[in-house]
């Protein structure tokens, strides 16, 4: 048997579908489908294979902390006994799916704490920089930072979730030249040093966004989490052309000018989402390379999933932890660090693609950044497809203007009432009225953002902030403006209709419906994602 790990990972690949091409695996929520794409006018984009991980991540981390990038002293030189130190870290939305222990955050935080202990720093706080996401549970925090760190800091109240609605806990540091309020965690603002621990899963993550967004709240976020910004971010995954990026960078400057010293630590992972071997490995293989054993294991998995209730399927997938490996770590001054990180993300994720097609198809998986250990409700389906997948491009979208996106997902009319209470209201009230992002923003955002009950649930329970579903919708607003039609295959038709999309029971039906918009014999691109890739469209 060949040992695949010893072969050099292959770059991404664009397959032109012909008559001999095998059916393509589509993710479909917590199940899968094998779909035949029309020969002669379809192409499938495959992500690059997983890069090798760093052989010794812990020493790479120690090396990065002592050999900073850009205008920064080594971390040990920044630490002194009487200082206030705050370590902020990415929340449950990163990486996706959650990774196997030890989580990268644990490795880094332990290394930082070792240095802090050596320097005699006593006043250390650890904050999950979740902005207006839901709070992390104890289990989730333990998974991220490790039991040793959790037990040392959480009981004494020095490890906690960021609370953007704590009137005492938030400050406005100033305003950008564009009139954007820069709202920030008071603890972080009053610290002598903020160490930020990133997992940069996609190119949007990290940089000034880590702190300017992660440690902010509605007062600050509303300046870039809005329809205007999202429509001027083409795409938000491409820093050169992202208004979201520009706004966060303006805010980062205000934070720096206010005297907040940040030591940024960024890491990249490979895209080994489902494993090189094991029960899900087949999901990251190219179909024509499936062995008889792969086919058998896929069929067995399909059969097993088919007879399970969806709650059981959800439980199985929610328990999947990705065997991600760290491919790089860099630390120091925010912008210099982020430049290198972005190159490292691109190294794993870029696939060069020639031109656009009439139709873009995608098989949406069971997970998005906002339903870890939760339910993928219809609003998150929209956001994953039109917010994330659609925007995984540099240059121009994979689908032409006026084209059609076809997403495959069961899209059940189902919500997690603890995590997504305001989503239920958004779906029942807002989308029943309009799906136009501009009108939604104008008519309803303030009401939801200021709703006291949502604020109570965000602060005390495990709820996303009341305004969060709006941001999900804005995330898709660039796609909504660009596209002529959106079709969901295999979804709950009333939920799909509420989203303002069309419902098709099979992919051929959907292609037929799409040709009403783009004409007969349309060209088709399928994104074979996940694992994640970023299309560089020429």
């Amino acid at each position: 048997m060949k040992n695949e790990k010893n072969l050099a990972p292959r770059p991404g690949f664009v397959l032109d579908v012909d008559r001999t091409s095998p059916p393509v695996l589509f993710h479909h929520g917590d199940t899968f489908k094998l779909e035949k794409l029309p020969a002669g006018r379809s192409r499938v984009i495959y992500p690059p294979e997983p890069l090798e991980g760093l052989r010794d991540p812990d020493s790479a981390i120690r090396h990065a902390l002592e050999n900073p990038i850009g205008d920064s002293e080594p971390l040990s030189a920044l630490l002194r006994p009487d200082m206030k130190l705050t370590i902020a870290f990415d929340d449950i939305s990163l990486p996706l799916p959650p990774m196997r222990r030890p989580d990268i955050r644990q490795r880094i935080i332990e290394a930082v704490l070792d240095l802090a202990a050596e320097a005699g720093v006593d006043d250390v706080h650890l904050i999950a920089a979740l902005a207006i996401h839901r709070r992390m549970t104890e289990d989730e925090l333990r998974h991220a930072v490790g039991d040793r760190v959790y037990d040392a800091f959480a009981p004494s109240g020095r490890l906690y979730n960021h609370d953007a609605e704590d009137p005492e806990g938030m400050v406005v540091l100033g305003e950008t030249p564009h009139g954007e309020d820069v709202q920030f965690s008071r603890r972080a603002a009053e610290s002598d040093l903020v160490v930020y621990v990133n997992i940069n899963l996609v190119s949007m993550d990290g940089g000034h966004k880590s702190t300017a967004t992660g440690l902010s709240g509605y007062t600050g976020l509303r300046h870039h989490h809005n329809v205007h910004t999202m429509r001027n971010s083409t795409s938000f995954m491409d820093q050169e052309n992202s208004e979201l990026h520009a706004s966060n960078w303006r805010m980062g400057k205000v934070i720096r000018d206010a005297g907040v010293k940040i030591f940024q630590i960024e890491t990249t992972v490979n895209n080994n989402t489902f494993g090189r071997s094991g029960p899900l490995a087949v999901l990251q293989k190219r179909e024509w390379e499936w062995s008889a054993r792969d086919r058998a294991s896929f069929v067995a998995m399909q059969k097993g999933l088919d007879v399970m209730p969806s709650s059981a399927r959800r439980q199985i997938f929610n328990s999947w932890e990705a065997p991600y490996e760290m491919t790089s770590v860099q630390a120091g001054e925010v912008e210099a660090v982020h430049k290198i990180t972005t190159e490292n993300v691109y190294k794993q994720q870029i696939v060069e693609v020639e031109g656009q097609t009439d139709i873009l198809t995608m098989g949406l998986p069971y997970i998005s950044p906002y339903n870890v250990n939760s339910v993928m409700n219809p609003i998150l389906v929209m956001c994953l497809g039109l917010g994330y997948f659609f925007n995984m491009y540099r240059g121009k979208p994979l689908v032409r203007e006026g084209g059609v996106v076809i997403m495959s997902h069961p899209t059940p009319w189902e919500f997690h009432s603890v995590h997504h209470p305001s989503y239920i209201d958004f779906f029942e009230q807002v989308l029943a009225d309009t799906t136009d992002p501009i009108e939604i923003e104008r008519k309803y955002e303030k009401q939801f953002a200021e709703d006291e009950w949502y604020i109570h649930l965000y602060r005390n329970s495990y709820a996303y902030h009341g305004v969060h579903p709006f941001y999900m919708w804005y995330w898709g607003s660039h796609a909504l403006e660009h596209l002529g039609r959106v079709i969901i295959v295999g979804g709950d038709s009333s939920a799909v209709q509420r989203l303002g999309f069309q419902s098709a029971s099979t992919l051929p039906d959907a292609l037929e419906m799409a040709s009403d918009v783009v004409g007969p014999q349309p060209t088709i691109t399928h994104m074979k994602n996940p694992p994640i890739f970023l299309a560089d469209v020429k």
Partner: protein, 403 residues
């Protein structure tokens, strides 16, 4: 003359109850109602006149009676056999077009002095509906002596008759009686000018109530539950600010009133009841579920007005007690006191409202008496079939001209 007669016949009544529990309105097929050749009613005295109906509406209370679902409570208050029909626009012998105010109070019963309620102009509350010169019956359409609207002709006391202006169509005029119920319910809330009202149900009663609320309280916030799309759009057209599906009521009232919520399970984020809620809730359904919903979304010291005819219901009353909620009925109409202190008869207010809000649009279909089974089935499934009010049309009945 042709008439639809309702007879007390216990076995048939039981059969109707059974059939009605499967298909609403189906009670008309097997139940106690049938088309008969009835005699023209005798006039009890010179204050009575013969009315020949032009249009005669089918009311939810009629359907409940036919399907055997109305409460035993009414049995002593009616006299058999009776001819239903109390939403009537018709002609007097001299050609005057009139609408019927169907309550059979002390005046029509020739009771002097009248009961306290009738003295106060609250006709609907008459205490003596089983006494006087005519047989028991709360309204025309439930008394064996007067006949009723589902026939070629019936007898009415002159005090029950309101002439209809030339400009008002028959279709509009037949909506005055149900609209009067809505006007009475709306005014019963006693709501503050900028308060919040929730209307449960957007059938005929719900819709006329919404229209009345909007007309007398221009600045209140109105939320309506509506099961069907046409009900939703009518509710919004007639003045509701928000119209939502019935199962969305708790979350929707919470949003409207900026209340917090309580979950009964351990699942935060579920809305099982509100901490605050609507100042008033008008329940146009009258079921255990609707009243329970009403109790979950009414603020402390708020008011629930029951307009839909309830029957036997099973409700947890602890919230009523703990939150000091008032639960009041709104039956028919009488005399209203308006916000500016003026006093008016509900029927006159209703006639104005039907005209100004164009409530004739709520009349969806008419049937001849001979197709009464189709008519009753249509009325019983009106919402489902995209309709609101169904009525009998007697204008082209040949017998009419023989009288």
């Amino acid at each position: 003359m042709k008439a639809l007669e309702f007879r007390r016949n216990i076995p048939r009544y039981a059969a109707a109850r059974l059939a009605g529990s499967f298909t609403p309105g189906r009670g008309s097929g097997v139940g106690p109602i049938r088309l008969v050749d009835a005699d023209l009613p005798e006039l009890p005295n010179q204050d009575w006149e013969i009315v020949r109906p032009r249009l005669s509406g089918i009311c939810g209370s009629d359907l409940a009676t036919i399907d055997g679902k109305s409460a035993r409570y009414f049995e002593p208050l009616v006299s058999f056999p009776f001819i239903p029909g109390h939403e009537v626009v018709g002609d007097l012998q001299d050609g005057t077009r009139v609408v019927l105010e169907p309550v059979l109070g002390c005046l029509s019963r020739n009771i002097d002095p009248p009961c306290k309620s009738c003295q106060d102009g609250q006709l609907g509350n008459c205490e003596y509906v089983t006494f006087g010169e005519i047989s028991p019956g709360i309204q025309t359409g439930s008394c064996c002596d007067t006949g009723g609207g589902w026939s070629i002709a019936f007898a009415a006391h002159t005090s029950q008759l309101h002439p209809v202006g030339k400009d008002l169509s028959d279709e509009a005029a037949v909506m005055i009686e149900p609209t009067a119920c809505g006007v009475h319910a709306a005014l019963s809330t006693g709501i503050e000018p900028e308060g919040t009202v929730t209307v449960i149900g957007s059938g005929t009663l719900g819709l006329v109530t919404i229209s009345a609320l909007r007309s007398y309280f221009p600045d209140v916030k109105i939320l309506a539950t509506a099961r069907y799309p046409h009900q939703k759009s009518l509710a919004l057209d007639l003045g509701a600010d928000v119209a939502i599906a019935p199962n969305e009521i708790k979350r929707a009232v919470r949003r409207m009133t900026k209340s917090r919520a309580i979950s009964l399970s351990t699942e935060d984020g579920n809305v099982d009841r509100l901490t605050g809620g609507s100042d008033a809730v008008i329940d146009c359904v009258g079921s255990s579920e609707s009243i329970t919903d009403a109790l979950s979304v009414t603020r402390p010291r708020g008011k629930i007005v029951l307009v839909g005819m309830p029957s036997s219901v099973n409700i947890e009353l602890t919230p009523l007690w703990h939150r000091e909620i008032q639960l009041v009925g709104a039956y028919t109409y009488g005399t209203e006191k308006l916000a500016d202190g003026s006093v008016a008869r509900t029927f006159d207010l209703a006639a104005d409202l039907v005209d100004s809000a164009k409530l004739d649009r709520l009349l969806s279909a008419v049937y001849p008496l001979s197709r009464y089974q189709d008519a009753l089935e249509h009325a019983a499934s009106a919402g489902h079939r995209g309709a609101v009010k169904i009525a009998f049309d007697l204008r082209s009945e040949k017998e009419r001209d023989l009288l």
